[in-house]
């Protein structure tokens, strides 16, 4: 058998010469079967590809120009709504929306793989330098404002919270670990340990909350639950009586409480679109889009539309404050 397996090249050529034609009695049988199976295989392949061909041909609306738009989870749903509505404004341009966090968007901008990066924090000096090193000059656009709401369980009776209290709950050197230390008694809860809900560290929300509440040099206390999305934070606070979390106002639901935050005069301010817009709410922040250099062509038209009344009405409907006055 070994000999058969490794016949010389000459052997094989000889075998090719004594070709199989003229032995159709024996081979006919096998060829039929091969052919039959081949046809079956082709049918299966066609069955697999057919729906794609039909669906693509039937509904495709011509070749669209793509604008890549990726980043902040805070902005991703607004970005989606803009993209959805822009389809009617200019059907020849498709806005591809992706999430992942401000860090994801910014690093994609540095790599040059997006046209517009969404971010809920501004780019750091080091990030701008990295982008410039790649020949990209990111330009910042403020497209809206977001109130970073403090969420607790619906049964939590807390009336308001100060930035100092938040720092004491979240900060590395903060003392508060139980609700009773803040003078809060949550009904029906024996273990009054504060469940601190936070975000993953490439989130712009994570960075903005740290900078604003814990200070520029501040660090989070270990043991927070770091969630991978704005909605996850709210979901967890909804289900956990001892939880406290921060997330964009737009993610508020009816099943969770938003805690008013004390401003510098000690006056509690409820997070709303209005208090975010006039900046009376202490932890409201601008939301950014970054373009690679001065936008041109379709990207400029899209950005202009976002900043127009029509685009800003969409961000308002999503629960964020617009950058222009809308009646």
């Amino acid at each position: 058998m070994k000999i058969m397996l490794f016949g010389t090249r000459a052997d094989r050529e000889v075998r090719e010469d004594t070709s199989l034609e003229g032995q159709s009695n024996f081979w006919g049988l096998h060829q039929d079967k091969t052919l039959q199976i081949k046809m079956k295989f082709n049918t299966a392949l066609a069955a697999l590809l057919l729906p794609i061909v039909i669906l693509s041909c039937g509904k495709a609306e011509g070749r669209a120009k793509m604008i890549q738009n990726k980043g902040s989870d805070t902005l991703v749903n607004v970005a989606q709504a803009w993209s959805e509505n822009y389809r009617e404004v200019n059907p020849s341009v498709a806005i591809v929306v992706g999430g992942g966090g401000s860090g994801t968007g910014i690093s994609a901008m540095i790599n040059g793989t997006v046209d517009i990066a969404n971010a809920s924090r501004s780019m750091k000096e080091s990030e701008l330098a990295a982008a410039r090193a790649n020949g990209i000059d990111p330009i910042e656009w403020i497209v809206g404002y977001d109130a970073l709401a403090v969420y607790v369980h619906a049964d939590n009776p807390i009336e308001s919270i100060s930035l100092e209290q938040l720092a004491s709950i979240y900060g590395e050197h903060g003392e508060a670990t139980t609700w009773s230390e803040l003078g809060i008694k949550i009904p029906g809860l024996n273990d009054d340990k504060i469940v601190r809900v936070s975000r993953q560290n490439n989130s712009g929300t994570y960075a903005y909350f740290r900078d604003t509440v814990l200070g520029k040099e501040g660090k989070y206390k270990l043991g927070t639950l770091d969630m991978h999305g704005s909605k996850d934070v709210v979901d967890l606070c909804e289900k956990t009586p001892g939880a406290i979390g921060y997330s964009g106002l737009a993610y508020a639901t009816d099943h969770v409480r938003l805690v008013p935050v004390l401003d510098s005069n000690g006056k509690p301010v409820i997070p709303t679109v209005a208090t975010a817009a006039d900046r009376t709410y202490p932890i409201a922040r601008p939301l950014f889009m970054y373009t690679a250099g001065q936008p041109e062509g379709d990207i400029k038209l899209y950005l202009d539309w976002i900043l127009s009344e029509e685009g800003q009405r969409i961000i308002l409907n999503k629960g964020y404050a617009p950058v222009i006055d809308i009646k």
């Binding site: 509904k59 495709a60 989606q80």
Partner: protein, 292 residues
């Protein structure tokens, strides 16, 4: 036959042990059905009222809380088709080499080890490899091509192993008979070995499809978009995909109606189950034609 054969105490004891273990293992096996049944029933019950023709044929609307899953469905088909085009020829060719040509030497052993290791690499690592290799290095950008190639690399071991197993299941005597008729090695492979192992190869392909349909991590950085208001028109476009769409509406989008994620999940499972059943039926059909 007379009744001289009487059961002893030992016989009865053995019989009891036999029954005990049969029942025990049987029960363990039956419990395996429970998770599958619970998942399916939950999906069916909770997705009640979601399905309609519009669900499959329309774009998502109103912040992805209404409308259908059409672009995600088409996108998944694109991803699977391109991944198959890349991985099946490669995988089958590699399996033919390993099964029919390769000698048992250090190189073959290293290749086999590499295949096993490739199968064990977590999908997120494949995803990052895909970003580095296909998106950035080959400059395909985030595109169907990059995503599908990532999926192809990930599922290559499945195709190779399934194909190799089914090639090796073809009796050696078939090959020897063919060689003795004067056929070359390639003629033997093309006319005898491949036709007789096609059912096993197809099973491998279908397994690959099932896995490709469900994967999220390898595509989320390489080609699948959160939202895209158009269908892809070439492999250089990005696309929406069922698996990522399910992830997104379950974790990122506020105010999604309760039934919607369940409906998407059921559709996803439905595709996989239909493919699996089809492959099983096809395999049974081909097996019936086998001549040994």
């Amino acid at each position: 036959m007379t009744s001289s054969f009487t059961t002893t105490e030992l016989n009865r004891k053995n019989q009891r042990t036999e029954t005990l273990f049969k029942i025990l293992f049987g029960m363990v096996t039956v419990t395996l059905i429970i998770p599958v049944a619970v998942i399916l029933i939950t999906l069916v019950v909770k997705s009640d009222g979601i399905f309609s023709w519009a669900f499959f044929s329309e774009y998502p609307t109103n912040g992805m809380t209404e409308g259908g899953i059409f672009p995600a469905l088409v996108g998944t088909l694109w991803l699977v088709a391109v991944a198959l085009l890349a991985s099946v020829p490669l995988g089958v060719a590699a399996a033919i080499y390993l099964s029919e040509y390769a000698e048992d030497n250090w190189l073959t052993r290293i290749i086999n080890l590499a295949i096993i290791n490739l199968a064990g690499v977590p999908s997120i690592v494949h995803a990052l490899f895909g970003v580095g290799a296909f998106v950035l290095f080959f400059e395909f950008g985030t595109s169907i091509l990059a995503a599908s190639l990532t999926l192809a690399v990930m599922t290559l071991p499945v195709v190779i192993v399934a194909t190799r197993e089914s090639l090796q299941a073809v009796p050696q005597s078939f090959r020897e008979a063919c060689w003795n008729m004067g056929a070359t090695r390639w003629q033997t492979i093309w006319r005898i070995v491949l036709p007789n192992s096609i059912s096993g190869i197809l099973t491998g392909v279908i397994l690959e499809v099932s896995r490709t349909v469900g994967e999220t991590a390898p595509i989320m950085f390489t080609g699948a978009a959160f939202f895209l208001p158009f269908l892809p028109t070439s492999v250089y476009d990005q696309t929406m995909a069922m698996s990522l769409h399910l992830y997104v509406i379950s974790t990122q989008v506020p105010n999604v109606p309760d039934g919607l994620p369940y409906g998407v999940a059921l559709t996803l499972i439905g595709i996989v189950m239909i493919l699996n059943s089809a492959s099983m039926a096809f395999r049974t059909y081909l097996r019936g034609k086998k001549k040994w």
